[in-house]
């Protein structure tokens, strides 16, 4: 019997992503956001989480996935990171599932670009694949700051 871990899962462009449950502080409905001019594109804005100001990162953009269709409101997965709470915008929230360590494999070749760097592994579930995200790497935007503010207007 191998070790098992609980994962909080969510959907992005039809893929199932997940992060260990202890990393997740809460999941909340779509919130009104204040956009931050000059910030990297992946930062959708700031939300007010009971008086705490939290940056919201669009996971689709962060992972290089296609843009979310118009009219579809994202959900906020608020995660605990070394630098405080950060909200990740996802399409939909999934179940909390238990995964066995022995079903873990390294990321498949089909993953491209940045997604490859932040997917720490793949769990083979029955009928689906769960992509495990390295949250601290996802919210560290230092790889983007060089290009900040170059958006056209």
């Amino acid at each position: 019997m191998g070790a098992s871990q609980q994962f909080c899962t969510f959907f992005l462009d039809g893929h199932v992503f997940g992060t260990p449950v202890p990393k997740v502080q809460e999941v909340i409905q779509h919130q009104e956001m204040t956009r931050v001019p000059l910030s990297p594109d992946v930062v959708s804005g700031l939300i007010n989480l009971r008086g705490q100001i939290v940056s919201a990162i669009d996971l689709r953009r962060r992972l290089g996935l296609p843009e979310r269709p118009d009219g579809q409101l994202p959900m906020n997965v608020v995660v605990r990171t070394n630098d405080g709470a950060v909200s990740l915008l996802v399409d939909e929230i999934g179940d909390v599932i238990e995964v066995e360590e022995e079903t873990l494999e390294s990321p498949p070749e089909t993953l491209q670009g940045f997604a490859r760097e932040v997917v720490s592994g793949v769990y083979k579930l029955s009928g689906r694949l769960l992509l495990a995200l390295d949250i601290d790497r996802v919210v560290d935007l230092s790889d983007l700051t060089k290009t900040k503010g170059t958006r056209e207007f």
């Binding site: 956001m33 204040t34 001019p37 000059l38 007010n48 008086g51 100001i53 700051t145 207007f153």
Partner: protein, 785 residues
């Protein structure tokens, strides 16, 4: 570390702070048996606990102090300055040991044998006259010290008979014998149980009697009934946040209740409203601390300093209860300490000089704090010699800070305030206390950092007063709310100068282009203009393309320079709560934080300085200033557009210019004092190891320069956050006051660009960059120090 050791450390640290004050107080009123008893008890507790925890060295030291104190308490010795100094030295040693325990869990190697011997000597040495203390000439104690106790004083303070304690009450009422109490007290020293519990456990007394005694004690000293608990600061911060949210929810609730007819619901929301308001006020109070918390250490410091300077100083404090936000308390600690030191070292004269001047021998140092107009005022005044305006004028001219004509025209007040400029010191000799020309500028920067102001007033021979005004709290600041490109922004009131509205139709005329940069003529001056929506790349949702709308210009200042910010709308001024933004957004210099508005949405707070730098408006300001020559003749404010530059000669680069504001000092070292630390040349400078950078090598890396082994080095000292680095140049040429027109921002290493200075092309040195290139960890190691 053990919980119990941690508790011991926290408790002892507090006790020691109180000891410092009590000992100094005791010196003033040596016959106070109450003070003496308190001091004795504190030391006794420390001794007892550390014996129990196995810190033998600390115990030994505390024991020596205790023995001395017990002789004082019993009236066998009279307190004098020497004994006080000895006891204070013991307190310091105990504090050191506690710090060691905290760091390593051990009480250190030093057993303080000398100190213990000294304390023992003092114990027996009542015969030794007070005036012959070996080190620094101790001034004889000012007040005539009469015999401390008249026999009975000693008995009163013994714990056994102390009627303010439960034990005392029980003895008094005959429930227990004094011997029972003594043995119970011993037990109490070991554990930390209540005396009543011990007695009940021993069966010496009935629980009812203890309860009755407890009531009696509480009735006798009502103050002891007030209880405090320790609460983490982050818990308070969280509470504050939540209360803020509650207030927002309350606002929404009130709006909703107004639109309904349900009387019951309206009544509930009204009550909710009152409770929320009250709650908010109370929670705000939890973050406030009396300024006395900082002042507490001054009596001891003043005493020690006065002794070592051979001066007699009386400290008077007024308004200790004035409350300030705790972050501000932290921020003003160092500036205040520095000012107090300055007063004693430079302000107050020696007793002889004072007598000659017809003043009392003892100088008066007064600290005063009070609330006024939503701000806290702190005044530090002395009745010393006052500032010498003439000498400051001379010095300012010598340093090239002002011309001699300017100096004669300046008012006394302006002259006095020049002492806050970096590197300015009129002290004739450098003492180990102050006079090194660092400090006053640090005082000013620290106070300004928290949004405060410093002002100095002085009358020759009468004294000097330094006035500090600081905001009550940093967390809440007044701000102007504006919109631009459909977004809301807050502009902190401190950077705000005025608002200008150009009516429709005028909009096109009001803003003109000078060399491609938009400017506005404001009362004959050219004000560079920045479009906020363009600067923040907000798209064209704004109105700047439409001529039929009025144009709103917010005139702001940053770094002493003014510019106009064009926004779509000016909404209101509001008190906003500043909140930090996540690390993901820290790198954007245009914002200093964010805040939550009344409707619960987030708004960004603009960092005016960062914005100005982004928009390069600061250099444009100089450019446009140049194009307007009339103004140069008419207005003196132009000085702010000019920069004072240090010109140096170095290597093949020729002349280089360094903004004088970045120069901490100019020094000359013999070449023989250079030492090597790894591959880095260093020298010892004011007790620090200062790295040296040879500018000619950095700037012309491909060429080799012979290093002169002798001769003297000209060094420009650059300091950042307490660390210094020396830039070695060939020659210091001049200090000039120039209007800078930076041209061809060069791609060359370490150079920001060139400018024509004194009719010669001169490169501007990028000091911070050069330093970081040579010493990559310069700023990081600063953080660690």
């Amino acid at each position: 570390m053990d919980e119990i050791v941690k508790d011991f450390l926290i408790e002892s640290a507090e006790n020691l702070d109180r000891l410092d004050q009590d000992l100094v107080k005791l010196e003033g009123s040596p016959s106070s048996t109450e003070l003496l008893a308190g001091i004795f008890r504190t030391i006794h507790t420390i001794k007892g606990t550390c014996g129990f925890l196995g810190f033998a060295r600390l115990e030994k030291l505390a024991h020596a102090g205790e023995s001395l104190l017990s002789r004082l308490r019993d009236g066998e010795l009279t307190l004098n300055a020497e004994i006080t100094s000895g006891l204070l030295a013991m307190v310091d040693a105990v504090r050191n040991m506690l710090a060691q325990i905290e760091a390593s869990g051990q009480d250190g190697e030093d057993d303080h044998a000398n100190l213990i011997a000294h304390l023992t000597e003092l114990q027996s040495g009542a015969a030794k006259p007070a005036g012959t203390a070996p080190e620094n000439a101790v001034t004889p104690p000012s007040s005539e010290m009469t015999k401390t106790a008249d026999g009975e004083g000693a008995a009163v303070c013994q714990e056994q008979a102390d009627p303010a304690k439960i034990g005392g009450v029980l003895v008094e009422r005959g429930h227990i014998r004094p011997e029972d109490l003594a043995s119970a007290l011993e037990l109490q020293e070991l554990g930390r149980r209540k005396i009543g519990e011990i007695l009940i456990a021993q069966g010496t007394v009935r629980p009812e009697d203890v309860a009755a005694a407890q009531q009696a004690v509480q009735a006798r000293n009502p103050e002891s009934a007030v209880e405090t608990i320790r609460v983490g600061v982050n818990l308070l911060d969280r509470l504050m946040n939540l209360v803020g949210e509650l207030v927002l929810a309350r606002n929404q609730l009130l709006q909703f209740s107004n639109s309904t007819q349900d009387a019951g619901f309206q009544a509930v929301s009204q009550r909710m409203n009152l409770i929320a308001t009250e709650l908010q006020e109370e929670v705000m109070k939890t973050r406030m601390q009396p300024i006395g918390n900082v002042w507490n250490k001054f009596p001891r410091m003043v005493r020690d300093l006065a002794l070592s300077c051979g001066k007699d100083v009386t400290l008077e404090m007024e308004g200790q209860d004035t409350e300030l936000d705790r972050t501000i308390i932290e921020a003003i600690k160092d500036p205040l300490t520095h000012l107090v030191r300055n007063c004693i070292d430079h302000g107050i004269e020696t007793p002889e000089m004072r007598r000659q001047a017809g003043k009392e021998a003892a100088g008066m140092l007064k600290l005063r704090a009070f609330h006024e107009g939503g701000q806290v005022n702190i005044e530090i005044s002395d009745d010393g010699a006052g500032l010498n305006g003439e000498r400051i004028r001379q010095k300012a001219v010598e340093r090239g800070l002002v011309t001699s004509q300017q100096a004669t025209r300046m008012s006394d007040r302006d002259i006095f305030n020049m002492i806050f400029l970096p590197g300015f010191s009129t002290a004739e000799k450098i003492t180990n206390v102050s006079g090194r020309g660092v400090g006053m500028d640090v005082v000013k920067t620290n106070v300004e950092k928290i949004g405060g102001t410093v002002d100095v007033q002085s009358t020759a021979r009468k004294g000097t007063t330094v006035k500090i005004k600081i905001p009550l709290t940093l967390a809440i600041i007044p701000a102007l709310m504006v919109t631009s490109g459909g977004e809301r922004f807050a502009i902190p009131q401190v950077s705000l100068l005025e608002l200008v509205r150009l009516e429709a139709g005028e909009g096109g005329k009001g803003i003109e282009m000078v060399q491609g940069a938009p400017v506005h003529r404001l009362r004959g001056r050219l004000l560079p203009v920045v479009y906020l929506n363009r600067e923040l790349q907000l798209g064209l949702a704004g109105k700047d393309s439409r001529r039929d709308c009025p144009t709103n210009i917010v005139v702001v200042q940053a770094d002493g320079r003014e510019f106009g910010l064009v926004v779509d709308e000016i909404t209101d001024t509001e008190e906003i709560v500043v909140k930090p933004m996540g690390k993901q957004l820290k790198g954007i210099s245009a914002y200093s934080g964010a805040t939550i508005m009344g409707d619960g949405r987030v708004a960004l707070i603009l960092d005016i300085l960062g914005l100005a730098q982004r928009a390069r408006v600061i250099s444009e300001a100089r450019e446009s200033a140049l194009s307007d020559k009339e103004k140069a003749n008419k207005r003196e404010e132009l000085r702010s557009d000019r920069q004072t530059l240090l010109l140096v000669q170095c290597g093949a680069q020729g002349r280089m210019a360094i903004p004088l504001s970045l120069v901490a000092r100019l020094e000359e070292f013999p070449a023989s004092t250079i030492e090597m630390a790894g591959a880095q040349e260093v020298t010892q400078y004011r007790g620090q190891i200062m790295p040296l950078i040879r500018l000619s090598r950095v700037l012309d890396a491909d060429k080799e320069f012979a290093v002169a082994a002798e001769g003297r080095l000209q060094v420009v000292v650059y300091s950042e956050a307490g660390r210094s680095v020396g830039l070695v140049v060939d020659r210091i040429v001049d200090i000039v006051d120039e209007t800078l027109v930076v041209q061809n921002p060069a791609e060359r290493r370490g150079v920001t660009g060139s400018a024509v200075i004194q009719k010669r092309v001169t490169d501007l040195l990028d000091v911070a960059r050069v330093v970081r290139e040579v010493i990559p960890g310069f700023s990081e190691s600063t953080a660690r120090v």
